[in-house]
Subunit: 359 residues, 2 copies
């Protein structure tokens, strides 16, 4: 099977080999060293300030999102949430559950965030801005410079879910003035799912120190305290943290985050240009694409049926959408260990489906 | 390195081989089937009633403990917590954080729970009993029959942390009348850490349905809803769930839970009898041993120094204790993929340390 979903994605041989090793005991100086290195490289690739910190939570990206909300916001905040799809909607649900006052910028699927969306929130006493830099469900990549300028002007605390865009599109945490960046092990980090990574600016750390978190497991105060000695408060997914370490070093050795972004962009561009040449009955449905994924609307067949056929008849996974978009949109990912030849196979399968009259 | 800690423990070759595979996409009928099989085998080995359900949470055993507390108890409950070590103490912290009224049965390290400890709580309006069946930090295995009789007599909701004892010591969820059983992937399930497993009786499911959980990520209502179709609400640690599946089938094929418990008991007995023969300066410090671990107090040296020496000079991990017991107790585990020959090597190392005058 070739995996073109947006997570879990394919891993390198080095990362996979670690998966076959016995998991070492981890309350040791050796594991602490590895965790310090993970923190250092994540900060380097996120372009976080030197005094930022990193927490590694055993859980999904959604656990990371909730951890950020629970540890840095309270009922005295007033947040703006960009809600352009399922992951924006998740932040809405989380603010409702945790009783964080908020307003939504509701965007139609595929639509970009523009200056006019922000205008009405200017100077209105908001404290916080929450955004999924890449709304993975619809494949829309928001303009972070626009958001950053708005947040700086209004002195907003800025929470950025970079789960599917970290290492796939440029992100400069310090220059954007972002306070929290969230990612996950199974996206462009290209490791198995199970670890969420949270980078905190000094301003975020200060909020964590002041706010009482109502969940012990997701309490960043406890996590950061343990991270001082390179440890986690609870037994973490040790094997995945070791795989993350290998992967971060792999990226570092191969030219760093810029080279990794360029590699991903080249794959995305290759797929998109070939797709255009082949004149398949698919429309790209995002106004603002990330390098991580191409969201496609098939105009002649059900998107979910195409997903099933590609899986069962061609041995490849493309990424189905859920909910309302199940039949209208599927996505093709460009993160993880993929090569141009893999896309050639996928495009051949699409052409074959067209020949058979299935699309 | 040979790993005698109580988690992460050593995995079988089959489980390790899965760790080297690419992680498959999981929103598929194939993965749902695997999850249904995981649920069926966990229920079988826990001897849960047919109408029990299982949730798989991506997180540590502590995440499982907190999930149980947050989803089934409220401020109108009145709980009894057996607190005989760090894991009993964790339940105390969790009930404090989540404002669940409780009383503690505080036991000294190494001490068993006895009838007289329960007497004062008889008929006093308690609703709930919370216990770590095996207090892993001190190696004390509590008498579940005593607890079960008390709970039945007083109609108590019974939460049992079986994290380090599941598959190592007998446990019959239905006949004991236990409502929640918690375990983790990295103990006798002998998979990498990252998944916590929670089995719920019909009475527990009913509580989950009625209670509003204040954490979305740990909300069992959402988890159980998704589990109806063999799925999880958030991207789970797919690779570990696949490893759990292989391991459960391995146990099933090799004679089931009884055979696995007997295998572990044989290893524990082998180590303990050889240890006695060698007259090493170690005292067993538990009144009631689990098959999972042997807690030892070295009478002539620091326990932590022995841990470091065994790690750095002999290439083996024994399990250090934390906090007050750091220098007085270490533990030798019997769960995971271990053989008698491994214990021979450990015992040889102990003898060697004695020869050198280190113990």
């Amino acid at each position: 099977m070739i995996n073109f979903t947006v997570g879990p994605v394919q891993s390198s041989d080095t990362v996979r080999a670690i998966g076959a090793e016995q998991v070492p005991y981890f309350r040791t100086a050796e594991f602490s060293e590895l965790m310090f290195e993970n923190e250092r490289l994540i900060k380097k690739f996120a372009k976080a300030s030197g005094d930022s910190r990193v927490a590694f939570i055993t859980g999904s990206g959604s656990a990371g999102m909730e951890t950020a909300i629970m540890n840095t916001l309270t009922a005295v905040d007033k947040a703006i949430i960009v809600n352009g799809g399922s992951f924006g909607h998740r932040f809405v649900e989380l603010c409702e559950l945790h009783e964080i006052p908020f307003s939504e910028i509701k965007l139609q699927p595929g639509k970009a965030l523009k200056t006019e969306h922000l205008a009405e929130f200017e100077g209105k006493g908001y404290t916080t801005f929450i955004v999924n830099k890449h709304e993975t469900s619809t494949g829309v990549h928001y303009d972070m410079q626009l958001i950053s300028d708005f947040c700086k002007r209004n002195n907003l605390f800025l929470i950025v879910d970079c789960i599917s865009t970290f290492l796939a599109d440029p992100f400069d945490m310090e220059s954007l003035g972002a306070d929290i960046m969230i990612t996950g092990s199974q996206k462009a980090l290209a490791c198995p799912p199970g670890i969420s990574v949270i980078v905190l600016s000094p301003r975020a750390i200060d909020r964590v120190e002041r706010i009482k978190c109502k969940c012990q497991y997701l309490d960043l105060k406890i996590a950061l305290k343990n991270a001082e000695r390179g440890q986690t408060p609870w037994t973490p997914a040790v094997s995945i943290l070791r795989q993350i370490n290998a992967r971060l070093k792999e990226i570092d050795a191969n030219g760093g985050v810029e080279a990794e972004i360029a590699r991903t962009a080249a794959l995305a561009n290759y797929f998109r240009s070939k797709l255009a040449e082949l004149k398949l009955p698919y429309e790209i449905v995002s106004e603002s694409l990330s390098n991580a994924v191409t969201p496609l609307h098939p105009t002649t067949a059900s998107a979910y049926d195409i997903f099933l056929k590609i899986k069962d008849e061609y041995g490849m996974w493309i990424c189905p959408n859920g909910g309302d978009m199940k039949d209208s949109v599927f996505r093709v990912g460009h993160i993880g260990y993929l090569r141009k030849e893999d896309y050639d196979k996928l495009l051949d399968a699409f052409v074959d489906l067209k020949k058979k009259g299935c699309i």
